[in-house]
Amino acid sequence: MSNKENINEHDSAENSGEGIADEAKNDKGLGLGVIFFIVAFAVSFVAGTFVFPELLYSTKEQPFSFDHVLHVDEAGSCDTCHFVREDGSFSGIPKLENCMECHEEEPMGDTEDEAKFAELYVAQEKEIPWHVYSKQPDCVFFSHVAHIQSKNEGGAGMDCIECHGHIGESTASRPYEENWLTGYSRDIWGKNIFGFKTHSWDRMKMDDCAECHQKETGHKGYCFQCHK
């Protein structure tokens, strides 16, 4: 259709008084649009808040369940297995050889999990592929010793619980919720998708580090302190 024809059509509509009826029709459309907007907004918001987190994380079981309470009772404290090495580096999750310092060829107890440990890992000399709840990206440098050493020794004098929570009081390993995109645990962002937290150990994001640093040292810290 040419421009000329368009103009002619428009002119004829105005002349016949049909323009008012058209506007009323348009208002109805707007009302429906508002309803569509509200419904879509509500559905999207609910989906983004409640459905999306369920889709974002997959649940994985640990290779076998680990009883922290039992081990703390037997071994003493966290740092028996999760120790700081002589050079100040942190050992992290114990390697098989650390486990073998107590566990020998034969199981020490009679649980199904220990049998699995002996059969699948000890006998085959294979490292246990634990899913680590607190694993952070490799570009972050974090010194455990600087945080756990007492204040007299120049450290922050923190307790393991402040970041890791009461994991030492668990009697079984909870499922590991893995982020499909990043591969890291849900524990890092925290259970609350909005990022709200009740306890210091509910989240382990950079903002949480900065918040504590602001509180304790008066400064959030500089990029290169952790990103080396």
Binding site: K28, L32, V34, F41, V43, S44, G48, F52, D138, T182
Partner: protein, 707 residues
């Protein structure tokens, strides 16, 4: 109610607003940023316990002690070992980049056999039996002397095993690549007697007179030299550098004396003549008929004005140098042009060392150390059968390696049926490299023990890939002009990355697969067992401490000084060829001249006025450049080759002289070093020195023309 365009707009806006207000946007943005850090090609080092292991670097003859930082069994960094008697914590750029050699693109990943123009992978069993069968066949034909062997150096247990193999087999044709240590031994045997060597106490000397030795360009044990040079200011020690170019060493020196290329021997003889004439020398150390002959010869043949004319150094400067040298409390004259490798003149080496003798600095603090060659290895006596005796009694194909290639390359029938090459790259590193390559091409069966592909490996029929220094246990004796004699223990820090073997094990396996009379000389279970028994006198200390100091400080041995060679050989090797310019090689610390070639890290540190893109540079004095500008392309032509290069104008090089850096122009498959620049060794022809038989070319006449 009609669903129209506005309804859809409302729906879209609602979805967008709902999603934006929900945590999804922020969370997804955060996750995506982390996702980008976790792409599969992003290297993430394995976490684990940090440990350090001590070892010894054998990338060059410097033999520095190193400390390798490992994280969970993976070596991640090489540092200098503190307290090691050679380098005390220091390390050079090649050493710190040593881990790159583990994964070098030129590494040979399994035994290879040449099939047509290509190499095919074979198993170790096949490779060893191929070599043993061929060697047995040649031996059965009654000509064991037709098997030759080229070693990178003459010391250490792996060289000891190869020498044992060749001796048991029955060939007199064993050659080593020309290195500083071999020249020091040759100079010592010429002036002081057989089985002696020379070291320089640079760290204590108060006056170092360097005859073109690249003290900070890789001469000797590089880190030891850096440290000695760095401490000069504190010690108030002077360095005078005699060089045709304002090298880094000359720039760091107190004085730079420019000299015409190839005239260092004349300068040293002239200085000797002046010192003797003025009776400034230490007479107590030299008192013989031969010395009197030498004294009268130099005084007649090397008057200062003549020496000044030959060398281009003003007479007054020559006298000033001679006086400053002889009057210093702890002077030392250092010889070995550049790195002290490649071609050198025995007359030059001996004449310069005669200055040390005249100064009376032999076995004195800050002077030179003359001592017997360290011999800490004792292999059991070999049983030699009659075939071996007959073969070994035949005349070798030359005294030095260049004679060998001359005979192999120019003879009609193959003078050599099989050649074993260990850790050497003669097709690249020797003068007239193209001729050497062609000569090796005429040998029917070439076996190469090498960790990396290189120009010589490319010409080989069988390549036996060996562990790198990070993957193997080995004794590493220091040499290279150190004042002390140290043997270090290189350790297997990491499991072999590829299907390689220890060269010692490969030699033992070949020996065991040969005739019973040879196999009987290789009755070790492994190289490790062999090393432990051969080095039994020092093994406990060596394995525990990682090194043993065999001799330190001044030797108490009585040292004779025999000037007969210098009295009899007065002719200095002239620079040959045609052209108005003289092309000289320039040794550069960042570019190894031999095997292995530079690591990717090292090559990246070379400045773009040495190599730019694929082009080498020719350094030339603006006076000789005839209007050429920086960056202009020229063709450098000599009697043996030509190469395209770019111009680098440099007022720090003598007029009439052009220089090209050594260590470029590799031609094998390694994208980091191959196809970059030109190999100067292809442009220089050997010049044989009368009297010694050495290839003594210090350069070659050349011409340049625009392209």
């Amino acid at each position: 109610m009609k669903v129209d365009r506005r309804s859809f707009l409302g729906l879209g806006l609602g979805v967008a607003a709902g999603v934006a207000v929900s945590p999804l946007t922020v969370k997804l943005t955060d996750d995506l940023s982390i996702w980008t850090q976790n792409w599969p090609w992003t290297p993430v080092p394995v976490d684990g316990e940090v440990t350090y292991e001590n070892s010894v670097c054998s990338l060059c003859p410097g033999s520095c002690g190193i400390s390798i930082r490992k994280i969970k069994d993976r070596p991640v960094k090489i540092e200098g070992r503190t307290g090691y008697p050679v380098n005390d914590g220091g390390a050079c750029l090649h050493g710190i980049a040593g881990l790159q050699y583990l994964y070098d693109p030129a590494r040979i990943k399994s035994p290879l056999k040449k099939s047509g123009d290509k190499f095919v992978q074979i198993s170790w069993d096949e490779a060893i039996s191929e070599v043993a069968d061929r060697l047995s066949e040649i031996r059965k034909s009654g000509a064991p002397e037709k098997v030759a062997c080229i070693l990178d150096k003459d010391s250490g247990s792996v060289a000891g095993l190869l020498k044992r193999l060749i001796k048991s087999y029955g060939s007199p044709n064993l050659f080593t690549m020309p290195g500083l240590e071999s020249y020091l031994e040759l100079t010592a045997s010429t002036l002081h007697g057989q089985d002696m060597t020379i070291g320089f106490d640079l760290e204590n000397s108060d006056f170092i007179l360097s005859f073109s030795a690249g003290i900070i360009e890789g001469w000797g044990s590089p880190v030891n030299c850096f440290q000695a040079n760095a401490s000069r200011k504190e010690r108030h020690a002077e360095l005078w550098q005699i060089d045709s170019k304002l090298s880094n060493t000359a720039a760091s020196a107190d004085r730079w004396i420019a000299i015409k290329p190839g005239t260092q021997a004349d300068l040293a003889m002239g200085m000797c003549a002046f010192i003797i004439k003025k009776n400034l020398y230490n007479a107590s150390v030299i008192d013989s008929h031969e010395f009197a002959r030498f004294a009268s010869k130099v005084q007649n043949s090397y008057p200062i004005p003549k020496v000044s004319e030959i060398t281009g150094i003003p007479s007054a400067v020559i006298k000033e140098m001679a006086r400053a040298f002889i009057k210093a409390a702890m002077p030392v004259a250092v010889f070995g042009r550049g790195r002290g490798e490649g071609s050198q003149s025995l007359k030059e080496l001996a004449a310069i060392h005669m200055l040390n003798c005249l100064a009376g600095n032999i076995n004195k603090k800050g002077g030179t150390v003359v001592r017997s060659k360290s011999d800490y290895l004792s292999f059991p006596d070999e049983s030699i059968d009659s075939i071996a005796k007959q073969g070994a009694a035949k005349a070798p194909l030359g005294k030095y390696i260049h004679d060998f290639f001359e005979k192999v390359g120019t003879g009609g029938n193959p003078a050599v049926e099989a050649l074993l090459v260990y850790n050497a790259n003669p097709c690249y590193a020797l003068n007239n490299a193209k001729f050497v390559k062609q000569a090796i091409g005429q040998i029917p069966f070439v076996v190469n023990f090498s960790s990396f592909m290189d120009e010589t490996a490319m010409e080989s029929d069988i390549i036996l890939p060996v562990h790198t220094f990070i993957e193997r246990l080995e004794d590493v004796p220091s040499g290279a002009g150190l004042s002390k004699s140290v043997v270090g223990l290189s350790k297997a820090i990491v499991k072999p990355v590829y299907d390689t073997k220890h060269p010692g094990d490969a030699v033992i396996l070949i020996g065991q697969a040969l005739d019973a009379s040879i196999a009987g000389n290789f009755e070790w279970e492994s190289y490790e067992e062999c090393l432990e028994s051969a080095a039994q006198n020092i093994w406990d200390e060596l394995s525990e401490e990682g090194f043993v100091v065999l001799t330190a400080g001044a030797s108490r041995e009585k040292v004779n000084i025999d000037a007969a060679f210098l009295a009899d050989n007065s002719e200095t090797v002239q620079i040959k060829g045609e052209g108005e310019l003289i092309l000289i090689p320039i040794d550069h610390m960042r570019l190894p001249a031999d095997s292995p070639s530079a690591s990717p890290f090292a090559i990246k540190t070379v400045s773009d006025d040495i190599i730019k893109g694929k082009d080498s540079f020719i350094e030339i004095n603006p006076q000789s450049a005839k209007g050429l500008k920086n960056g202009d392309y020229v063709l450098v032509k000599t009697s043996v080759g030509s190469a395209k290069a770019r111009i680098k104008l440099n007022e720090g090089i003598m007029p009439g002289v052009i220089g090209m850096v050594r260590g470029l122009g590799h031609t094998f498959g390694n994208k980091y070093v191959s196809g970059k620049g030109s190999n100067i060794n292809e442009l220089i022809a050997p010049v044989i020195e009368a009297g010694s038989g050495l290839d003594a070319a210090s350069g070659i006449r050349a011409s340049i023309s625009g392209v």
